[in-house]
């Protein structure tokens, strides 16, 4: 039974990590807590759902549609809202408040457009084969989520560590001004980061909508709260921290459901978060993984 719990914890943890990757990327590079990331996640899910039901796209194509649409939203948000605030040199809290407004706007817009009810992907689209090995079972979808979140994290880490682009992004994370003096196109990379993070958020939205088989306007909010917990647990702005924090949270939740009772699941998650903040505000892995982004 424990093995099965561990597998469940792994897939739940990767779900959180997938969401947290884009979230932490924006914080690491732009220094902005983007509270509209949950709304972007929801937009991704709705975009894919529309693509599947209205345009009869296959699942892979709808994933790409979600990626593109969510990315476009990220770009436009950066262009219209985050950029003017950067120009004005507003303190970090101001963009956070602006993104709260955006989240309210998008969540209610989708409620108005698509209705508040819970929508589902049509059954024939959702891959629901189960794989069995060594006494545990895992669905194809869960496996895809696990593999994708590890692949994305490795990819992002490689880009950050090994490429010129990654070096530029790390320089910006240290100091945008110094980076600009070194001839780095800071504004361009800010756009790029916002777009990529939103695109990742959109894809996460589709996968998690498939995983929980639910698309509704406020689907991003609980995820956002968990995402906040994850990046605090893992250390803010740290890519490995997003995965480790996600896994840790997934593990803690699954174990608390299995051994304490399902009602305490959120209490455990947020109690843990609160404890970490009090004892180690830099995040659980902050010391080991010192560098941002």
């Amino acid at each position: 039974m424990l093995e099965q719990q561990l597998v469940n914890a792994l897939s739940l943890g990767c779900v959180y990590a997938l969401f947290a990757l884009g979230f932490t990327l924006v914080f690491g590079v732009l220094g902005v807590i983007n509270l509209s990331h949950g709304a972007i996640f929801m937009i991704g899910a709705y975009a894919a759902l529309q693509a599947v039901t209205k345009l009869a796209f296959p699942l892979w194509a709808s994933l790409i549609a979600a990626l593109v649409i969510a990315g476009a939203f990220g770009f436009v948000i950066d262009l219209l809202i985050l950029k003017p605030l950067r120009k004005r040199n507003a303190p970090h809290l101001i963009p956070m408040i602006a993104t709260i407004g955006l989240a309210i706007f998008f969540n209610n817009a989708s409620q108005g457009l698509f209705g508040a009810e819970n929508l589902r992907f049509p059954n024939e689209v959702v891959p629901n084969e189960q794989l069995h090995f060594a006494g545990v079972q895992i669905s194809v979808l869960e496996l895809a989520i696990v593999l994708l979140s590890f692949a994305l994290m490795t990819g992002l880490l490689l880009v950050m560590r090994r490429t010129q682009l990654g070096r530029a992004l790390r320089a910006i994370a240290e100091s945008p001004k110094a980076a600009a003096l070194l001839g780095i196109n800071v504004e361009g990379l800010f756009y790029l980061t916002s777009t990529v993070a939103a695109a990742l958020g959109g894809v996460a939205g589709v996968l998690i909508a498939l995983y929980s088989n639910a698309v509704f306007p406020l689907m991003g909010q609980p995820m956002l709260h968990k995402g906040i917990a994850v990046i605090i647990l893992g250390g803010m702005g740290d890519i490995r921290g997003a995965l480790l924090g996600g896994l840790f949270l997934g593990f803690a939740e699954v174990m608390s459901v299995a051994y304490i009772g399902s009602t305490m699941r959120d209490a455990v998650a947020f109690g843990l978060l609160f404890l970490v903040l009090l004892l180690r505000p830099q995040g659980m892995f902050g010391k080991v993984l010192e560098r941002k982004a």
């Binding site: 605030l85 809290l93 101001i94 706007f105 209610n108 817009a109 108005g112 947020f270 903040l277």
Partner: protein
Amino acid sequence: MEWFDNFWAVYSNLVLTIGINALLALSIWLTLSCGLLAMANAAFMGIGAYTASLLTMNVGAPFPVALAGGVIAPTLVALAIGGPTLRLSGVYLAMATLGFGEVVRVLILNAESFTGGALGLNGIPQQTQWWHVVLALVVVLLLLWRLRRSRIGRAFEAIKEDGVAASLMGIGVMAHKMLAFALGAAIAGLAGALNAHLTFFIGPSEFGFDRGVDILTMAILGGTSGPTGPVLGALIVTLLPELLRGFKDFRTMLNGAILVLIVLFLPKGLWDPLRFRQWFARAPRKPAPATVGER
């Protein structure tokens, strides 16, 4: 006065809600004026509301005692969590207090035997009179107004501008932050206690993330340069849904849009004495014709 009776019969709840929201907005303004973005006010409001309601319903305490309980409980909680939490700054503090708020909500949700869980507390006696709210608001406003002009208020401002510089000037930064945090919690608790005895029902979902955001919106919209702004913000945010009735499903959407627009175009909020002064200073200068050769 017949029109007034009619008006009051229809709108008394709305008017009193404005007063309670004003108290909440002032509670977050107090911490903001000390440079702290603490988002736990909704949780403190919840603690105050539940403490006061449980006192009246289970113990049969008289209303003033219940109110006092509703003020003291969140203050004690704030003092307890303030020590470690207020070491954090900026976004970390915001996140920590948001996390704390979720913890409180989930605890209320799970302590069913006490709080009624997700069903909430029903049938709280309606003991809040209109003048209770007015009196509370006036007292809090007076207190904050005096505080601002006192040594403590100036210390808050110094800490907001630059914590390190303030500590070098001999200001006890931690003690002042703690004071702002605890006082903010007390005001939020008072608002919660009054609100619980006005609306007859409270539930855990009222004190979650959304309420916290609402409170912040009021303060930011109105402007945080003085206590007038939050009151104005509370007035607008409370009335807006009524005025926007025609937009039906989309009216909360407009709330979000307004928040974004305010942050973008009026960074200091609606009530910004500096801007007003500029307007009035500029107005008389305009008609004066520029003499030749002056430039």
